[in-house]
């Protein structure tokens, strides 16, 4: 299992007239969390794109438990529960406020695809190598 955390300060643009963060913006929080999760193993999503691979999102499931509010410093906890075997990778996100309340969870599934030709492919080996140590072989 590989887990990282990232903090995001809620600015005004993210709120709506209900006085809370608009539900549609949580997908961005997951994205920021994923990006930092990749960065922390010494890689960036930008590097992946530079290798000619893109990672389109194919499925998102979000559950909204409590609202995030203006000026909250939220924590996005991003977890990779399994090393992807094929072209598919799933990130699990949990979002907490400063009091430690769980506000939201999200499961985001992405594919690895070759930008040219748009064919599904495997996770780049260099990235997989860096992640391997978080997923010890079971026997």
């Amino acid at each position: 299992m590989y887990t990282t955390t990232t903090e995001i300060r809620i600015h005004y643009a993210l709120t709506d007239q209900m006085g809370v963060v608009y539900h549609g913006h949580y997908a961005q929080f997951y994205e920021i969390g994923r990006g930092e999760a990749i960065r922390e193993i010494g890689y960036t999503y930008k590097d992946i794109e530079a290798m000619g691979i893109i990672m389109p999102v194919v499925d998102i499931h979000s559950r909204f438990l409590r609202p995030a509010k203006y000026d909250d410093l939220i924590t996005v906890k991003t977890t990779l529960r399994e090393l992807p075997a094929h072209h598919k990778i799933v990130f699990h996100s949990e979002i907490y406020n400063e009091a430690g309340d769980l506000l939201n969870t999200g499961d985001v599934t992405l594919y690895f695809m070759e930008a040219k030709g748009m064919k599904r492919c495997e996770m780049p080996k260099a990235l997989k190598d860096k992640l391997q140590k978080y997923f010890p072989a079971k026997d």
Copy 2:
């Protein structure tokens, strides 16, 4: 069953550097579709709020099949499959491009809540009355 359709023209702000609509923006398309679905029965979400009732989103599940692109005129087909019995309502959305390809589906669950006190409540009777004819009693 109650179904309506709405068209949305994709502007530049909705695209990302993959050259397609950013996945996080589909929640807005569902919202626009829901808003127009309510408007077409002679009501608005604004009316609902004026009655002291808000409808927070509690769950969204999106599946991304094909990308929407800049300048596409997409159609959001919004369906209410069941009349809500209690405080919960589920809208099903399908998004098509001009060629009729299904690009995306979304299931959005919202609660009816009293803005004051934030207690769950039933769908306003006036709104339910207008929807009733689309859901004939089975016998």
Copy 3:
């Protein structure tokens, strides 16, 4: 002078916790207005990009007079006051609510640039030809 109008319905995502449209979203309204202005002369910005020309924004000046609110049907009036002589084009936008109140004005300056090489260029001749009739020669 060349003027067109476009209507936009304000959805929830565009509001903020002040209960009005977030100021940062007006740039999108100008963009939508410009896009429709070009479409109405029988062209699209997408066509321009397909010719290898992009139009980055280099300057925006917005004045906020009255707020737009949720569910407002705003009208964006887009005016081209002069045919561009060189690589620069300026669109003037005025945004009105349904009561006809002026809510906002914006002046947006864009450049015509060759996507390859990123060199400034002239407005495509085909587009200029279509606009010419709105700008009769003075003598």
Copy 4:
């Protein structure tokens, strides 16, 4: 003069299909910079709203010199050049990339207004007191 700096990492949602940050998002960068500028003197915009005062934006002027790109870590430098005498305050923003290139400048004018009644008012005294030391009296 009072100046602060804040860093923002560009995520995918902020890019558009030109491969750069969409011009309409810079207003959010100015907002984040202003918010942090207020926080650094021991105050928050949230505190100001809790006092019954809101600060609507009345004018923005942006100049776009170079594009910001995906994964750039931009620096927003926010400057208050004068202590507001009346209901009006102007923040000047400069945005730099990691190489130190100036990408964008923005001047944002806001009003102080009483949320109830929407009447213009002065900057809250507590906030002005904290800023005073950055603006020594001239003689």
